[in-house]
Symmetry: C2
DNA sequence: GTTGACCTTGCCATGGTGGGAAGGTGCAGA
DNA sequence: TCTGCACCTTCCCACCATGGCAAGGTCAAC
């Protein structure tokens, strides 16, 4: 399979397949005499694994660890579970930080009548009288880094 | 005030103050004869505004818009509210995507006994038998981009 | 005049991903 | 055989917000 078919079959873009190869997340693909990369079923399988892990929000370091365990017959499922639980804990932390932000904003927005006058509790809150909440924000970014 | 004091007073690092100046989010600070930037109370106020908006997860574009409205006497609070609500909607979307990820992982982890054997439902799930959930993940990044 | 705290500019890195340029390859049809 | 097209290759740039580091300037206190 050439990279385009591999991309379609795995759900990982050709661009990212090359990138994963460059950072050593997947082994360098063989070339078919010409310069083209060549992929087999095992490669697709691995790429799909990565895709699913990405979909679950795992970062590259953890995916790397998971891949290592995946291809280790003598692995301990306790190790796998630990990685998953660590990641879940981080997810929960980010979720609650964002929950706090959203709640604060809901309150501010509710206090704003939106009638078109200059008077605005939201700006008021941002300008200084914010009810002293989200310190968690310093630890977590709530903006997306994977463009939609 | 020099930049260090301004940073301490506003909660925005000196580095970021310079960056905000570079991207035009704050006006270029005056210099005091020497090369040092000089800040007054209004500057601190503005920086604190930015800091609070960042803490609520606003991205730079929205902060820029909020700042414009903030310093516009003839603003409409409907405009402000719209920006806030747009942002809240994005937050909620990301929260629910991450909620889905966390839930899926909770399930997988619960199915894994973690007794140390190679047998592992988590890897099984990643390897292909994942219960067909998080398509939302394609739209939202759950990893932090602001380092902790 | 030396020390130390602070400032300056400028470059690099992060993490995943996409965009695009400039050029090579392979296959189908005229 | 030539042409066109779809695909591939490598390489560089951009995002967003932030931190780190380096090499050098400035100022106040001792």
């Amino acid at each position: 399979m050439r990279i385009g078919e591999a991309a379609a079959a795995s759900g990982v873009s050709a661009k990212m397949i090359r990138h994963y190869e460059a950072i050593g997340l997947v082994p360098a693909a063989g070339r078919r005499g010409n310069e083209y990369r060549d992929y087999g079923d095992a490669d697709i399988h691995r790429l799909r694994f990565i895709r699913r892990a990405r979909d679950l929000g795992f970062g590259m370091d953890r995916i790397r660890a998971l891949l290592r365990l995946w291809s280790d017959r003598d692995r301990s499922n306790a190790d796998v579970k630990q990685i998953a639980l660590d990641h879940v804990a981080e997810l929960e932390e980010r979720i609650s930080a964002m929950r706090e932000m959203a709640d604060t904003l809901h309150e501010l927005a509710a206090a704003c009548d939106g009638t078109g006058r200059p008077d605005c509790p939201i700006l008021g809150g941002l300008a200084g009288t914010l009810p002293a909440s989200p310190r968690a924000a310093a630890k977590v970014d709530a903006r997306p880094s994977r463009p939609v």
